[in-house]
């Protein structure tokens, strides 16, 4: 019975289920940004070809036109609350959600997106 219910549910909701990304093909920064147990930035931001992005934050592109330099972009990811105490963006560096090196890699990746 349980499995039947689950199956019905699954088929009905399958449009929203997440397909696995071929993460090996990505640069390290992209992998971290896309991976659910690392940056999981797609939960809130549309980024390039990322599937099923959330829309809590703005699409991440052309960041070199929105930030003066990489360091500023890094600050936003390190602790977004410094710029907006009411932000919904987690303080990735300050709360050690991802490591300092991982943030650098994400910055490198994002900076290159047109």
């Amino acid at each position: 019975m349980k499995t039947i219910i689950s199956l019905v549910f699954l088929t009905l909701f399958s449009c929203t289920s997440i397909t696995k990304m071929p993460e090996q093909a990505f640069s390290p920064g992209k992998q971290i940004a896309f991976s659910r147990d690392k940056g999981n930035c797609l939960a809130c931001h549309a980024i390039e070809d990322g599937e099923y992005p959330g829309n809590i934050g703005p699409a991440l592109k052309a960041l070199s036109t929105r930030f003066k330099n990489k360091q500023q972009l890094r600050e936003q990811i390190w602790d977004a609350t410094q710029f907006n105490p009411e932000t919904s963006m987690p303080p990735f560096g300050k709360n050690k959600i991802i490591s300092s090196e991982e943030i650098d890699q994400v910055v490198d990746y994002l900076w290159g997106i047109e």
Binding site: S6, F9, C44, G54, N55, S88, P90, N95
Partner: protein
């Protein structure tokens, strides 16, 4: 003990956090990016006066739960002008049209049917002293009245606690909150209350009731966990937006549809189990079902939802 400390720490922190939330809330400012920069980028005297103004604006929120409720609803009215109060009983399916269709299909052969039947059986089974639950609950359809403030016990009594209080008064052992028997009883009592508008009261003649409400409210607005979110971050600030493929529901009506059969659980479970899961999601320490914190939180949320019909048991993804 550890939990007590955690809670006290959060209570101390709350004043300012809750305050900031409530200011934006009252002014209906959608959490402006600018305000922070405004405060930071200004000379000290301007910063201080901004903060002072904030305090003055926030004052009304310390007044009455009625005013909290009005502000809470006003916010959602602006975000979801198409919704009537009763619609909030359907959670995210009130605002996610695609998922709603699948959900309505599921509700035609609801997976919680057996839970209601099991609950009914339990409800009508005699205790060893020959009495029944009906001895404590002469009218079954009572889920809309809970949680209740108990003056004698000095705490918030949820329906689950009331069930166990009934059992112990009849010399039966208490039921574990997360196990099937308790959830099934709740499913039955919720089913017999369907359509009744939630009406939770905060008695004026006992200041402890007000304080329990305030603690529940503080918990709701408290940022916590490694991700540094409050309940409000997701369910107020971003209600209607998508977290990945998941549309975030309004907190209004969050207490009406319980217990709920969730695909993710593969079974029917309680409101407090859902609370715990949201805490785990933000990498905060989950609290046990029926902890004081969760009961106060339920008290606050139920009061916000007064007037919304009981829709439990229900189904959710």
């Amino acid at each position: 003990m550890a939990l007590d400390n955690r809670f006290q720490a959060s209570m101390m922190h709350t004043d300012t956090t809750a305050l900031i939330h409530t200011i934006d809330f009252l002014l209906m400012i959608p959490y402006p990016k600018k305000s922070a920069k405004l405060i930071m980028g200004n000379p000290l005297w301007r910063r201080l006066s901004l903060i002072l103004i904030s305090f003055l604006i926030a004052l009304p929120l310390y007044a009455t739960p009625k005013q909290d409720q009005a502000a809470f609803r006003k916010h959602y009215q602006l975000v979801f002008p198409q919704l009537k109060l009763a619609d909030y009983a359907n959670g995210v399916y009130a605002i996610d049209e695609i998922a709603r269709q699948s959900w309505l299909a599921i509700e035609e052969f609801p997976p919680y049917e057996t839970a209601i039947e099991e609950g009914k059986k339990l409800f009508n089974t005699a205790f060893s002293n020959g009495k029944h639950y009906a001895h404590c609950f002469p009218n079954k359809g009572i889920a809309d009245e809970y949680p209740k403030w108990s003056k004698t016990q000095g705490e918030v009594i949820t329906l689950a606690i009331a069930i166990n209080n009934c059992r112990t008064s009849q010399h039966e052992p208490a039921l574990p909150y997360e196990k099937a028997d308790m959830v099934n009883l709740l499913a039955y009592l919720s089913h017999t209350s369907r359509g009744k508008p939630i009406h939770v009261t905060i008695p004026k003649n006992d200041p402890r009731a007000m304080s329990a409400y305030e603690q529940g409210k503080a918990f709701y607005y408290q940022r916590q966990g490694q991700l540094n979110f409050s309940c409000a971050t997701c369910h107020i600030q971003n209600a209607g937006k998508k977290l990945r493929s998941e549309i975030l529901s309004a907190s209004l009506g969050h207490t009406s549809n319980w217990p709920t059969y969730r695909l993710k659980w593969g079974e029917i479970g309680s409101l407090h189990r859902r609370f715990a899961e949201c805490l785990t999601q933000i990498k905060a320490e989950p609290l046990p079902e029926q902890s004081v914190e969760f009961r106060n939180l339920e008290y606050f949320l139920s009061y916000m939802g007064n007037g919304i019909p009981i829709s439990g048991p229900s189904t959710r993804k």
